[in-house]
């Protein structure tokens, strides 16, 4: 059934349909309506889950780690400084291989305080060992929450579902809410391969020595490095798992189809704009305008950011003359993280081939309004002007 609701409600309905068993969250703008909606759903008895109010984000994720360790399907959500307050537990959840799903309602990071949207919060958590997925509209929010529980539990890696604060979280648009029985058929109940059980006591994630050693039962046990190697190996394997789950979802629900990225008018494009989140959809309007004036522009929306589908991305981009990356985040002192990742993907792809030039733009930090005219001018300029300083970041909408 199609409804018109906010992005936060889309996320809450996705969690409900996924039959999460434990929800722990601390409210923070712009995530707050999501947790309020979930607590209403649980209170009304529409979802058989424990909603655990906590005094901080650190505790929110700690509760999810405990619940997931005991074999429950666990969910949390946060934004910005709340996400950063979780940081230690974020690493822990990945290292402990717990299939927690968390919505990150993207917001800029203080100081100075901002409640408005950019991507610095989740991008700064890129290297924690979580899968990161960026979505572009409400349909993708609800669908991706459901798919993420399935993927997380298949590969035993936690997932951040990232969507733009305000621009998606507080915007109302139509989306389809799938029927519960179809979601149940797609997402079976979670069966933990190992879980805390008083009948079978075990130590989880105790101090692990640098080298391998025999455990109490006399079995050769991994050292820290082997455990971390396996996280990397399984992250890379998650690319195939994500692809296969996406295909199954498409067959059942007729939506989605590519877990890695979405392409718009890229087949014959001389120039491809690359971005994540709602901005990548905004760029489609700009591509239409530029195509009307004879400049062949395409747009790539990157969904799966970690694990990074580098070779598939490079393959989709390598035929273009120039790649223009638009980002709401920055690795201070260098450039945007996505821009670096795109360059790296192209560098590894086809050594003897000519590679497209890659330009990086930063925009929309702390909710700075992104106007179609500004995007149009920046993209047109990036397409039509020789690149004098390829390493320089282009700032869009800056008033300094």
């Amino acid at each position: 059934m199609h409804i018109i609701e906010s992005g936060n409600v889309a996320a809450a309905l996705g969690v409900k349909l996924s039959r999460a068993q434990v929800i722990a969250a601390y409210p923070i703008t712009p995530q707050t309506p999501l947790t309020e909606k979930l607590s209403e759903i649980v209170e009304a008895g529409e979802l058989d889950a424990q909603y655990i109010p906590v005094e901080s984000e650190h505790s929110a994720l700690a509760v999810c780690i405990a619940a997931s360790s005991a074999g429950a399907r666990a969910f949390t959500a946060t934004s910005a400084n709340g996400l950063l307050y979780m940081h230690e537990q974020i690493h822990w959840a990945a290292g402990a291989r717990l299939p927690i799903v968390m919505c990150v309602v993207n917001r800029g990071v203080g100081a100075p305080w901002t409640v408005w949207n950019d991507h610095q919060d989740s991008i700064s958590q890129r290297d924690t060992g979580w899968i990161q997925i960026y979505v572009n509209d409400h349909q993708q929010i609800i669908d991706t929450v459901i798919k993420s529980f399935r993927l997380a539990e298949e590969v035993m890696i936690p997932i951040m579902v990232c969507y733009d604060g305000y621009l998606l979280s507080h915007t109302y648009m139509p989306f389809d809410v799938p029927e519960q029985d179809r979601v149940d058929a797609f997402l079976p109940p979670y069966k933990a391969p190992y879980a805390l059980d008083p009948e079978n006591p075990a130590n989880l994630n105790t101090v692990t020595l640098p080298d391998i050693r025999f455990d109490a039962q006399g079995r050769l046990a991994h050292g820290y490095m082997e455990i971390r190697y396996l996280l990397q190996e399984d992250m890379r394997k998650a690319l195939d798992a994500a692809s296969s789950i996406e295909r199954q979802f498409f067959e059942m629900f007729g939506r989605g189809g590519d877990a890695f990225f979405e392409l718009y008018c890229c087949e014959d494009a001389d120039y491809i704009a690359v971005s994540m989140g709602s901005l990548s959809y905004h760029l489609r309007d700009v591509a239409d305008l530029l195509r009307a004036s004879g400049i062949r522009v395409g747009v790539m929306s990157v969904h799966l950011y970690r694990p990074f589908p580098a070779s598939m991305i490079a393959q989709a981009l390598v035929h273009a003359r120039r790649i223009i990356v638009f980002e709401k985040a920055l690795s201070y002192g260098y450039e945007g993280a996505l821009c670096s990742d795109i360059k790296s993907a192209l560098f590894h792809h086809g050594h003897n081939q000519a590679r497209p030039e890659v330009l990086g733009h930063v925009l929309g930090l702390g909710g700075r309004e992104i106007r179609t005219e500004d995007l149009h001018e920046a993209l047109k300029h990036s397409c039509t002007t020789p690149v004098a300083h390829p390493d320089e970041i282009g700032w869009i909408g800056l008033k300094i």
Partner: protein
């Protein structure tokens, strides 16, 4: 009246229900066969009483641009005093429609090139049995009369659904009375 693409900007005060009003119209628009609907509130550091606005974009195709409306076809104002505080009319297209909740008559205003519609939504809504200051259902009645964009019965049904358990019939009645009591100027 059918449109390919329509942009409606709603201005109110924090707590007045501009977002709820825009949401009701968004739902009715979607049900009228417009697959592209996006209602994007612009959030500042508002508190009750401060000027707020939200952008409702409707289209026959999916809406990709979620930035605030800069060239509205229609502007709806839930409190006429806002006209003195902020640049409400900014970007209104020539021939665009302006709907104002005001106790003043049409003749009190002079907006060249706009199609003005006025109603004392605050007073009329009280007559419908609502507490003073609840104007977000009533303004939809005036919007409907001024624009002839959506089926009025469909709007009433959406008002009743939105306010279910919260004076639904009074809100629907406010919209009906405002529809009847809105005066619309020609070009």
């Amino acid at each position: 009246m059918e449109h390919e693409h329509l942009e409606i900007r709603w201005h109110g005060r924090g707590g007045q229900g501009a977002i709820t009003a825009a949401k009701i119209v968004a739902k009715a628009t979607f049900e009228s066969g417009y697959p592209g609907v996006a209602m994007v509130p612009t959030f500042g550091t508002e508190r009750r009483g401060a000027p707020v606005f939200t952008s409702l974009k409707v289209s026959k195709t999916k809406i990709y641009d979620l930035s605030p409306i800069s060239r509205p076809d229609i502007i709806v104002v839930l409190d006429h005093l806002l006209l003195e505080e902020t640049d409400i009319l900014h970007g209104l297209k020539p021939g665009g429609i302006l709907v104002i909740n005001t106790p003043k008559p049409l003749e009190a205003y002079n907006f060249d090139g706009t199609r003005l519609a006025v109603a004392d939504v605050t007073a009329v809504s009280c007559r419908a049995g609502l507490p003073e200051g609840m104007v977000n259902a009533g303004i939809i009645g005036s919007f409907a009369r001024a624009t002839d964009f959506l089926d009025f019965a469909l709007l009433i049904r959406n008002i009743e659904e939105e306010f279910q358990g919260r004076r639904a019939s009074e809100n629907a009645q406010a919209a009906r009375l405002c529809y009847e009591n809105t005066t619309v100027m020609g070009y």
